[in-house]
């Protein structure tokens, strides 16, 4: 038994052995300080990569959907988190229309059943969805343009996101003037938004129903109705309490505000994921090519949207004060880690290496929490049991009487929420840019190829390997590697970093076609 197992996993063991040897010899070439810094940075990159990779691989495993928009959901998490954190007034202003829109779209399944039972005469059936769509968009755009929204302006440097970030980190942030409604009364606009969203949902449903025959006794689930009602109600409440809420958020300390940013970005990610799955992906489950094109389309649209709203230039996100202290109590002479953490220092010393509390410690910690949390969810709960079974055979799960579609929506939503969480966590460390999504999706894909496409431990191991590899190469780009037969130390140049991770992936795949932890099919 044991010998057989050894034999079966021989290649895997050899590869792991080589990796260990490589790691040890790479570690020999640098001082302890450098080593500690490099390993911690590698783990931090690994943690962020893992947050993207984990959701991507769950979605791929359960639904066979290659979600190419996953990187952009990561990016969106960062930008949404930034908005809550740096401009809570904008966040509060924008929340109401967004919640109403989401509520309207939530109604789609219900409207589908309702409209499906009321077929219109032929011609009308063909035309009304288009008219409805045009009317809905006109209504929404009209109402949104007048909606009182206090916002930055990416076109003017003094009002750009970068300027607000700077003001916040220097503590010179002023509460910008609240936007006032011009034209129609905001309450009227509120109703127009609700109407427009519902009409939009109806028109989208109508598009799908064209050419279908009437459905006699379809099954109607009530949960979308309840959810839609809750979202709309929340939107109205927030609108009524707008000024008070904004002032309260501005008075919060940055650490609490940052916690809120994390929660909001994750929740929006989850909501968006559920919406994307149930409205866009679901009709395409049997058409994989269209599905790939669709997710690619979503990713381009998201990038353009982000450019239009937040602008093209990169900008930073200030760290919460809990991880930003540099003054008294944080000098070189204070060595104790506990003391430095208590003083909210920006850095601590680990074996003399200067480690940043946010970029390394906090991010790695969050990555570990998610790793364990999702693992518990998968291994210990009924939902996890159903997901694991569904990865193996979703048709059978359905035949056992489980509503697989609902599980699909839930998992898609969970996956996107994890990506968005990764984005908001990464933002204070790596900043915000239009390219961050693509960059981390690539890393996540490499990590999954290395670890095994739909294996959860594989996602974690692959992400850590990719992070470590990347950081070791960057470090050796500074130190240089002493190779035999070369007079000068060899310095890998920055462009070699992505190339080396891809090369590493290719080598692993040649040796282990299913990755380190993937099962063969």
């Amino acid at each position: 038994m044991m010998a057989e197992r050894l034999k079966k996993n021989r290649t895997r063991l050899i590869v792991l052995g080589i990796l260990a040897v490589l790691f040890v010899s790479a570690s020999q070439g640098m001082s302890t300080e450098d080593w500690v810094i490099t390993v911690m940075r590698g783990l931090a990159v690994g943690a962020i990569t893992f947050l993207v990779a984990a959701g991507f691989s769950l979605i791929l495993g359960l639904m066979d959907v290659l979600n190419l928009a996953h990187g952009e959901m990561f990016m969106l998490g960062a930008y949404i988190g930034w908005t809550v954190y740096v401009r809570p007034d904008t966040f509060v202003d924008a929340l109401t229309p967004l919640l109403l829109l989401a509520a309207g779209l939530m109604l789609m399944p219900v409207l589908g059943v309702w409209l499906g039972q009321r077929p219109l005469p032929g011609k009308v059936n063909q035309i009304w969805p288009w008219l409805g769509l045009a009317a809905a968009l006109a209504l929404l755009i009209y109402a949104l343009r007048q909606w009182p929204l206090a916002m930055w302006n990416p076109g003017v440097f003094a009002e750009s996101p970068a300027t607000f970030s700077l003001a916040m980190s220097q503590g010179t942030m002023q509460l910008p003037a609240a936007a006032v409604a011009t034209g129609l009364s905001p309450w009227l606009l509120l109703m127009l938004l609700g109407l427009g969203s519902t009409l939009l949902a109806a028109a989208l449903v109508g598009m799908r129903l064209r050419g279908q025959t009437a459905v006699s006794a379809p099954y109607l689930s009530k949960s979308p109705l309840i959810l839609a009602g809750g979202l709309a109600l929340a939107g109205v409440f927030i609108f009524a309490l707008n000024d008070g809420l904004t002032a309260w958020l501005y008075r919060l300390n940055h650490t609490a505000l940052f916690a809120l940013a994390i929660v909001v970005a994750t929740a929006v990610g989850g909501l968006l994921g559920g919406l994307i799955e149930s409205t866009l992906i679901r009709p395409l489950y049997k058409r994989p090519i269209y599905q790939i094109m669709l997710t690619l389309g979503i990713s381009f649209i998201t990038i353009e949207l982000v450019r239009a709203i937040w602008g093209r230039p990169e900008f930073t996100m200030p760290k919460p004060e809990m991880f930003a202290g540099t003054g008294a109590g944080c000098g070189r002479e204070v060595v104790s880690i506990v003391e430095r953490l208590a003083n909210q220092c920006a850095t601590i010393f680990l074996f003399n290496g200067r480690i940043r509390t946010y970029n390394e410690i906090f991010i790695i910690l969050m990555g570990l929490i998610v790793l364990v949390g999702v693992w518990l969810l998968l291994q210990r709960t009924r939902l996890g049991m159903i997901i694991r079974a569904g990865v193996q055979d979703s048709q059978m799960v359905e035949a056992l009487g489980i509503n697989v579609r609902r599980v699909f929506t839930l998992v898609f939503s969970l996956g996107v929420a994890l990506a968005a969480l990764g984005g908001v966590l990464a933002a204070p460390s790596i900043g915000l840019s239009n390219g961050m999504g693509g960059q981390f999706l690539l890393l996540a894909l490499i990590a999954l190829a290395i670890g095994g496409l739909t294996s959860y431990p594989g996602a974690a191991a692959g992400a850590v390997l990719v992070g470590l590899l990347q950081q070791f190469i960057i470090k050796y780009g500074q130190l240089g590697i002493n190779l035999p037969f070369l007079a000068e130390p060899f310095k890998p140049s920055p462009p070699l970093v992505p190339a080396s991770t891809v090369l590493f992936m290719v080598i692993i795949l040649l040796l282990l076609p299913n990755g380190l932890f993937g099962r063969d099919e």
Binding site: A217, P218, L377, R380, M385, R388, D393, Q395
Partner: protein, 253 residues
């Protein structure tokens, strides 16, 4: 509709593009009966099952279960009403143990189905029910084996057990003996028969082994090119000339 009809289809039709896979099929199945469907490959038997279980939507026609229309019900709702089905290709969770496979099937039906974040071990009664079912299909001593490690015959028994978990009144079995060694077939058929009589269940069986079908069925429906060619008791079917020409003849040539 008579009370003792558990399942009825009216002019059921399904097209795949230009191909009519199921054409105007109207069938009534008596409650508690053993009803077999035979027909050559491509006759539309699997498609017919998919229409009954809700996996596919018909192009036209209706399906009634116990007098209630279920034509457009999603699969999982049909299961909750009491219709269980097996697939022509074995469907199991290969990386779970026999016990886990069956326990999952038992849990799927729990009233608290969507308290999803409860621990999957929190429900003792499911464990007990799982043992009971493993006893029924004779897999108790293999409870801790991984499903993919089971011999093929046992995999089919396991699948049967999983379908039995929700305690369905109607079982749709699509070639359960496919791929089994011929000496194992009678054992599985006897098991199905036992499940039918002891649980007062209705069985609809797709099967190509004529001997088996003739021996165990109460009623046989013969399908050919998507249509019902004949229906009757085994004796009537074997005496039917159209059937002999179109189907039996071809088989025994």
């Amino acid at each position: 509709m008579a009370d003792d009809i558990i399942l009825e289809t009216r002019n059921l039709r399904r097209e795949f593009g230009a191909l009519v896979a199921v054409n105007n099929v109207s069938v009534r199945v008596k409650a508690g009966s053993f009803h077999s469907i035979i027909g050559p490959n491509g006759a539309g038997k699997t498609t017919f099952f998919n229409l009954l279980s809700g996996t596919l939507k018909p192009t036209a026609g209706q399906v009634f279960f116990k007098g209630k229309e279920i034509t457009h019900l999603p699969v999982h709702r049909a299961v909750h009403l009491g219709i269980g089905r097996s697939f022509q290709i074995t469907n199991l969770f290969p990386n779970l143990t026999v016990m886990e496979n069956i326990r999952l099937a038992c849990q799927a039906m729990g009233r608290d189905n969507f308290r999803l974040f409860r621990s999957h071990r929190a429900f003792r009664q499911y464990e007990e029910r799982a043992w009971e079912i493993m006893g029924k299909v004779g897999l108790q001593d293999k409870a801790l084996m991984l499903a993919r490690a089971l011999p093929h015959g046992d995999q089919r028994k396991l699948e049967l057990g999983m379908i039995l978990a929700p305690d369905p009144q109607l079982l749709l079995l699509d070639e359960p003996t496919a791929g089994m060694a011929s000496e194992q077939v009678p054992e599985l058929i006897a098991l199905i028969r036992e499940i039918q009589t002891s649980g007062k269940k209705t069985i609809i069986l797709v099967e190509h082994n004529m001997n088996v079908v003739m021996r165990v069925s109460d009623t046989i429906t013969v399908m050919h090119y998507g249509e019902v060619l004949a229906e009757g008791t085994p004796a009537e079917i074997s005496a039917n000339e159209t059937v002999q020409k179109a189907y039996l003849g071809a088989l025994y040539e």
